[in-house]
Structure formats: structure tokens, C-alpha cells
């Protein structure tokens, strides 16, 4: 998750944006809800506040939709990618805050894709490919480049393939005639439990999850 946020920033950086990526800093263990933030801007980014009003969210674990509202604070014409086999409208049914604007919500069965092309249940890179297809704010090439900086060998090629397949999936399935680069995307958050619903501090060994 944290890695995905940094790779997203890397892809944005490659695209000429000013970027900043910040994990939310938790003592949660593997499997707990985790949120990481990425900012793109064309001006220098100075602020250090966590993203409260995201322009876009990437939801890696669809079970979060049932426990929290990861779309909180978003505009109806915000952008969202959800890792699920459901259709965008099925997602909207259970999540009234999900972007209602046509073509702004993409669903992609990223788990299935990475199972096939990566062989491990880590859908981050596939979702970045889907995000590139949905918003155009990052290029698929830049995603591949970010993956190559982070991983090597089979893991890199599997992730790149997954990203490509997810990219194509969104292009093919969403029927988003109005997909295109949104102007002025500044905030992208991923896998976002709302602040109020962040897990209570765990009293124990102080360590952070290194995704």
C-alpha cells in the first residue's frame, strides 16, 4: 500500500508533476486497513497535512466498502478505482459517496489479474495501471518505470503485465466515453479509511507496517 503510493508518486514525477507521497503512520499489522496519500501538483508542494478532501481514491481491499466509507470527503466528480469484480453501479449502490459522475468510477478485478500474471495477491501495481487508464494523469509507461525501480526480475515483469492488463480492462469494460485527463488533479489518496474510523492506537510494540 505504502509502496503503491510511492510508486504512484514516482509515475507522477516521471510525468513532470511535483509530487509528495506520505503513508499514514500506523502501528497496524499486516492486513489492517492502511491509508497512504499521494499529491500531484504543478506548483511546489509545501503542505504536510494529510489529505482530507481527496480528488481520487484507489481502493485496494473492497471489503473496506462494507466497514468504512473510503469515499468520504470526495466530490461527486472525483475519481475512484476499486479492486472488485462488481460493476461501478453495483459499487455505487452500497456506497452513496462514490463518484456518481459518469466514467469517474472504475472497477477492476485486480485480485484475479495479479493471481494470473503475478502469482501473488498484491494488486497494487494492477490498480495503478487501472488508475492510469481511468484518469490519464499518469502514463502506463511511467507506471512500468516506477515498477522497475522498485522490483526486479519476475516480480517486476509480473507487476508490469498486471498493470497493462488492468489498464486494458478499464479501457475495454468501463465504457467510459468521457475518460480523459482530469484537469488539476492534486490529491490522490488510496485505500482510505476515514479519519474518525482509523483504528484506535494499539498499545504494544511501536512499529509500523512496512508494506
Amino acid at each position: 500500500m505504502v509502496t503503491a503510493s510511492a510508486m504512484l508518486a514516482q509515475a507522477g514525477f516521471a510525468g513532470g508533476h511535483q509530487v509528495q507521497a506520505t503513508p499514514s503512520f500506523g502501528s497496524e499489522r499486516t492486513g489492517a486497513p492502511v491509508v497512504a496519500y499521494t499529491r500531484f501538483s504543478d506548483a511546489p508542494i509545501r503542505t504536510r497535512e494529510p489529505i482530507i478532501v481527496p480528488d481520487a481514491v484507489i481502493i485496494q481491499d473492497p471489503t473496506l466498502l462494507r466497514s468504512i466509507n473510503p469515499f468520504q470527503g470526495m466530490a461527486q466528480d472525483g475519481w475512484a478505482v476499486v479492486n472488485t469484480r462488481e460493476s461501478p453501479d453495483e459499487v455505487r449502490e452500497g456506497s452513496p459517496d462514490a463518484p456518481s459522475a459518469k466514467g469517474h468510477l472504475a472497477t477492476v478485478p485486480a485480485d484475479d489479474i495479479v493471481r494470473e500474471y503475478l502469482g501473488r495477491p498484491i494488486p497494487s501495481c494492477a490498480l495503478l495501471g487501472a488508475f492510469a487508464a481511468l484518469t490519464g494523469s499518469i502514463k502506463l509507461d511511467a507506471v512500468a518505470d516506477a515498477i522497475n525501480r522498485k522490483f526486479k526480475g519476475k516480480v517486476a515483469s509480473g507487476n508490469i503485465k498486471s498493470a497493462e492488463v488492468a489498464f486494458q480492462w478499464v479501457k475495454d469494460h468501463a465504457g467510459h466515453e468521457d475518460i480523459g485527463a482530469p484537469n488539476g488533479i492534486e490529491h490522490v489518496a488510496a485505500d482510505l479509511p476515514s479519519e474518525e474510523e482509523m483504528p484506535a492506537p494499539i498499545i504494544g510494540t511501536p512499529e509500523v507496517v512496512n508494506a
Binding site: F25, R48, E49, P50, P201, P206, E207, V208
Partner: protein, 400 residues
């Protein structure tokens, strides 16, 4: 060439470019990524002629650093929070022995209750330890300050803490400009210790000092600390000449753009001056244009050197302003903000009101909206002497 790097990675690379002989640390969040990276560089041979020592505690980390520095080595360690407290005895010893160790403090709250998130109570609790404390506002400064810190430490023969907000900076990926090894080598010559254990010239280090000499020892240490301001400023201007970037200003004025910073003028009597330290300076920079657009005359000053505290530079920069608002990421219980105390003392002779705003304790996010709100109130003179930003009145049982 600009690169996107996690704060910890860029600091680790900068430290490696300083060519330390010994790196010794005990893991504690949020310092871990820095020392992991350095351990990796030693193992792979990217950092040559360097020993990385895995120790059993922060107390040992500082003690190994003391031994290594006393033997004439350039030494690096890093810690945070409880770890800093655990090594406190050795921290005072390192400065007392005049050992130019450089240590990153990934600023984090002090328990209990245990809390792993950012505030600045840890290093501020060591303000009288005889260490210099340089504070980074962003990750570029964080990496630059490490290079500067060795230069200053070795010139003064005094240890330096480079303080960077834990997680907020250490774990954030930002675009930074890494220096070249050549540049660093030019700026930072090999370490020539003022005193060291030597088989050619045996001497005793760390002898007992009796009442007839102890006051003088402390007086000299005090004088060194006073002279540190000039040494930092000189190193800072040389740094700028070498690297083309500003690092190590005692007090940093922030204009609307980086270019404005240089043309800073002392504040006018109708201006409010905001003083802060660390990463909140970034968020404040985002907030100020909003307030200025509302007609609030406001200036922002960053404290780059907490120890030595830049009394004179602060007085100059505050100019004729009648109101100063200090954003403090630490608290002295029963007293108020820590930094605001230093600011108040520095401005003692001026007719100025100092509002202390305690914010962002234990990782509470400091939002632009809250800063805007508190500064609007300050402009109207509505702040009390001490304000707890975003305090949940219901939890503390003081709901209206």
C-alpha cells in the same frame, strides 16, 4: 538532478556521503528506515571503511558512538523518543567530552501513554544537554543539514542533533536534489579530531573534575555554544556557495516564493509573525497566502537552530511586530509551549505579545483549516496566552 526519495533514504545517502567510520544504532520507529539503509550500504560495500554496529539499546548506541568518536572516528547514530531518553546519560557525556557525533532525531512523542507518532517533545527535552539542535523543515533541508552538521560539529568539537519530524518527513517521499560525493568531499574535509585516544600520544579523556574547575568547564562549554551561532552561519553561507541551496539558517524567513525568502525585511508593526519549527512550516507556507488574501498581514519565521537559540536573529526578524504566534509541537506541563518559552525570552526586551499554540502532539495532524482558524483568531487578538489547537473539549470534559 532531482529525485523522488523517501526522507529516510535521502538522509541515509547524505550520511554515507559524509564518510562515517562507524554507524551504530538501535532500532526505534520512526528512525528505522535511515539506519536500515545505512546497514545495507555497509554490507554491500557502497559505504566503504565503515563499521555498522548492531547494539542492544540506545544507551549502548550512544556509548559506542562515544568510544568511536573518542578514538578519532567520524560517527553517526539516530534515534527518537524513548530511545533518546534511554540514552540521555550518554548524551550529556558525549557533549561533556566534546565529541562531534552527529545524530538524527526522528522527532516523536514521549510516553506514556506510548505513542509512536510525531511531535518534538523528545529532542526538546534535551535542550540543555550541550548538543546543537538543527531542525529540518522539509526533506531537502533534512539531508543538507546532516552534511552541514558534521562540518559544524567538527569545527566546534560539539555533538549535533539533526531533528526531522518523524513519519511526516522520515516516511514521506519527496523530490530532493542529492549532492554529489565530490561536492560533499569539498565541503567536508576528513575529520581531524581536536583530541583522541592515541597510542603515540597517550592521554586521559573523561577525568573527574572537582569543584575548583567544574564551573570553568561549564563556562567554556557555554561560550562554545554561544560561538556556535557564528560557526553555523559561516558554514551555512559556505554550504550555499558549494551546493547552491540554503541550509542551516538560524532563523529562516519564508516569503511567498523561495526567491522572496532572501529579500526578507524585518516585520512591520501591523504584521503578525508566526514562529515555528520543523515540517509544520510547510503547511504554514500553504496557509499564509490564504490569510494574506483576507487582508491579514502575516510573516513566517522558521527556527532552524533550536540550540544554540538564535536570540539576536529572531529579534531582528521580528522587527516592529507587536504580536508573535508560536506553533509549538511540545509542551512543558504546567507551563505551556517549549519553543514559545525560548521565543519569549529572546524577545524579552520588546513590547510584543507572544501567543503560544500547542499543536500536533503525538501525531495529531496539523491541518491547514485549523492553522487558518487559529491565525485568524490571533489576528483579531482573540487567542489566549496558551491555545491547544483542535483540543477535543468533550474528551477533556470541558465542553461548553
Amino acid at each position: 538532478m532531482p529525485e523522488l526519495l523517501e526522507g529516510s533514504q535521502s538522509v541515509a545517502r547524505a550520511v554515507a556521503m559524509c564518510r562515517p567510520d562507524v554507524v551504530c544504532a538501535y532500532p526505534i520507529s520512526p528512525q528505522t528506515h535511515i539506519v536500515e539503509a545505512l546497514a545495507g550500504m555497509v554490507r554491500t560495500g557502497k559505504l566503504k571503511h565503515c563499521d555498522y554496529i548492531n547494539v542492544e539499546s540506545e544507551y549502548a548506541a550512544m556509548s559506542v558512538s562515544i568510544g568511536a568518536s573518542a578514538a578519532g572516528g567520524r560517527v553517526y547514530t539516530a534515534t527518537a523518543s524513548q530511545g533518546l531518553l534511554y540514552m540521555t546519560e550518554a548524551i550529556y557525556n558525549a557533549s561533556g567530552l566534546g565529541l562531534p557525533i552527529v545524530m538524527t532525531v526522528a522527532n516523536r512523542a514521549l510516553g506514556g501513554p506510548i505513542n509512536i507518532w510525531n511531535d518534538q517533545s523528545d529532542s526538546l527535552s534535551q535542550r540543555d544537554s550541550g548538543w546543537l539542535q538543527l531542525f529540518a523543515a522539509d526533506n531537502q533541508e533534512a539531508l543538507d543539514l546532516h552534511i552541514l552538521a558534521y562540518r559544524v560539529a567538527e569545527e566546534l568539537s560539539v555533538p549535533v542533533m539533526v531533528c526531522m519530524d518523524g513519519f511526516v518527513l522520515t516516511h514521506a517521499s519527496d523530490v530532493v536534489e542529492m549532492p554529489t560525493q565530490e561536492q560533499v568531499d569539498k565541503f567536508l574535509p576528513p575529520f581531524t579530531p581536536r583530541q583522541a585516544l592515541s597510542i603515540e600520544h597517550p592521554g586521559s579523556i573523561g577525568m573527574m573534575a572537582g569543584p575548583e574547575i567544574f564551573t570553568e568547564t561549564k563556562y567554556l562549554a557555554h561560550r562554545t555554544m554561544l560561538s556556535a551561532r557564528g560557526v553555523i552561519e559561516k558554514a551555512s553561507s559556505e554550504f550555499e556557495a558549494q551546493f547552491g541551496r540554503v541550509a542551516g539558517q538560524l532563523v529562516r524567513p519564508y516569503g511567498d516564493t523561495r526567491a522572496d525568502d532572501a529579500e526578507h525585511r524585518p516585520a512591520q508593526s501591523d504584521e503578525i509573525v508566526v514562529v515555528a519549527m520543523g515540517s509544520v512550516l510547510g503547511t504554514l507556507q500553504a496557509v499564509l497566502p490564504v490569510l494574506r488574501a483576507e487582508g491579514i498581514n502575516i510573516q513566517l519565521l522558521g527556527i532552524g537552530s533550536y540550540r544554540p537559540f538564535p536570540n539576536q536573529r529572531l529579534v531582528q526578524a521580528v522587527g516592529e511586530a507587536k504580536r508573535v504566534v508560536v506553533i509549538d509541537r511540545a509542551i512543558q506541563l504546567g507551563i505551556g509551549g517549549v519553543l514559545s518559552d525560548d521565543v519569549q525570552r529572546a524577545l524579552g526586551s520588546k513590547p510584543v505579545t507572544v501567543d503560544s499554540v500547542v499543536a500536533g502532539l503525538g501525531g495529531r495532524p496539523i491541518t491547514e483549516a485549523s492553522l487558518e482558524d487559529v491565525l485568524r483568531r490571533a489576528a483579531k487578538g482573540e487567542l489566549e496566552d496558551l491555545t491547544f489547537m483542535d483540543l477535543n473539549q468533550e474528551v477533556v470534559g470541558e465542553a461548553a
